[in-house]
Amino acid sequence: MIFSVYILSGNMEHPEKNLIGTWKEVSWHYEKVDKTEDGEFFKEIARDELKDEIAKNLVIHKSEEWTFEQNADLLLTGEDKEDKKLNWRLKGRGHILKLKYDNDKFEVYQIRELNRNKLVLHFENDIHARGIVRIEFEKKK
């Protein structure tokens, strides 16, 4: 057992360590109920009104770069918006991202994929694009 833990520990990537740094939004997708003609469940959302409509009530609205700091601060920056500072925490087994703001408000995103270079978040949405929204990020070097 100790041996297997030792083997595992060599290949482990700690979610908190992986998350720290600056992430740039690459794409937004929404889940389709049926597969598209090319066999994909997710359809890309163009950076237009639909994305704005989906995210308008969220704290992440119009953010393009997310900087996760070690002290649990999250800085959201975008070209046409003021910078926003929130608090981030991972929950569960590191598969839930909880963003706290304005003292008692929070939003929860599911982490579908997280490694040193890629972050994929999911959240549920029922405005226009009914279903699950997926945001993909890549880490800024």
Binding site: M12, E16, G92, R93
Partner: protein, 257 residues
């Protein structure tokens, strides 16, 4: 609730123990889901997650989920170990130890969460592990002392058993069987208590946050003190009866004159 063992337990004993512990398990599970985004009273889902994480090669999560399952396993192992190796004559003490440990685990999470918790992932994972250990202790205890007829922290087996026994009631032969009727009653009480605990925790955890674990600890205390209070109450009643009967007996003084 705790003193009797295996077949010497009555339906009432099992219902009381099952309902109280299922109530606390329901509360623990919902409170941990709200506070940690993780289930803590059952491990079926964790096995599925473990398999998924192995398939994905997420070794950190594999280790975390495996540790959680192991904590539940260790709790159940310890409870049963205590019961089969414990003194039969002091069954109350032997059976109380797992519950006392469970209460300590729950109170630890309550105190740590309320006063110290800074919401790091490691703290979350450890607290989930402690709660799984607590639920393992509880499930191991209730299952062992009731001859495996009371399991209170998960409802998969219970729902299957309840469905099977309810379907038996569609036949007259089984409707007349007291054992089948008693089993339906027991399982229904446990399911209802678990659900009630969950609903209450779901309603109060947003306001109480980690202090909800103090409320859960109180339900464990009730289970622990029930038997003691019953013993003292019976003794007190017996003493009173003796005193009354003594005072009613005509005094036979030395009237030798």
């Amino acid at each position: 609730m705790l003193r009797k063992y295996s077949n010497s337990r009555s339906l009432g004993d099992n219902i009381k123990l099952g309902a109280m512990t299922a109530f606390s398990a329901g509360m623990v599970n919902v409170a941990s889901l709200i506070l940690f985004f993780s289930f803590t009273s059952n491990v079926t889902g964790h096995y599925a997650i473990l398999a998924e994480e192995i398939a994905k090669g997420n070794w950190f999560q594999v280790l975390v989920v495996f540790s959680w399952i192991f904590c539940f396993f260790a709790g159940s192992f310890f409870s049963n170990y205590m019961i089969i190796h414990g003194e039969r004559r002091s069954s109350y003490i032997t059976h109380s130890i797992p519950l006392i440990l469970e209460m300590i685990c729950i109170l630890t999470v309550g105190f740590y969460g309320h006063f110290i918790y800074s919401e790091t992932l490691m703290e979350t994972e450890i607290m989930v592990a402690v709660l799984l250990l607590a639920m393992g202790l509880q499930n191991g205890l209730t299952a062992s002392i009731s001859n495996f007829s009371v399991k209170t922290t998960h409802l998969t087996g219970l729902t299957t058993d309840l469905a099977a026994h309810l379907s038996m009631l569609t036949k007259k032969k089984y409707r007349q069987n007291k054992q089948v009727r008693d089993k339906v009653k027991l399982l229904s009480f446990i399911a209802a208590a678990y659900l009630t605990g969950g609903v209450i925790a779901g309603s109060i955890t947003y306001w109480f946050e980690f202090t909800v674990f103090f409320v859960i600890a109180i339900t464990i205390v009730v289970v622990l003190i029930y038997d003691i209070s019953k013993i003292y109450l019976t003794k007190a009643i017996r003493k009173k009866k003796v005193r009354i009967s003594v005072s009613l007996v005509p005094q036979s003084g030395n009237n030798s004159n």
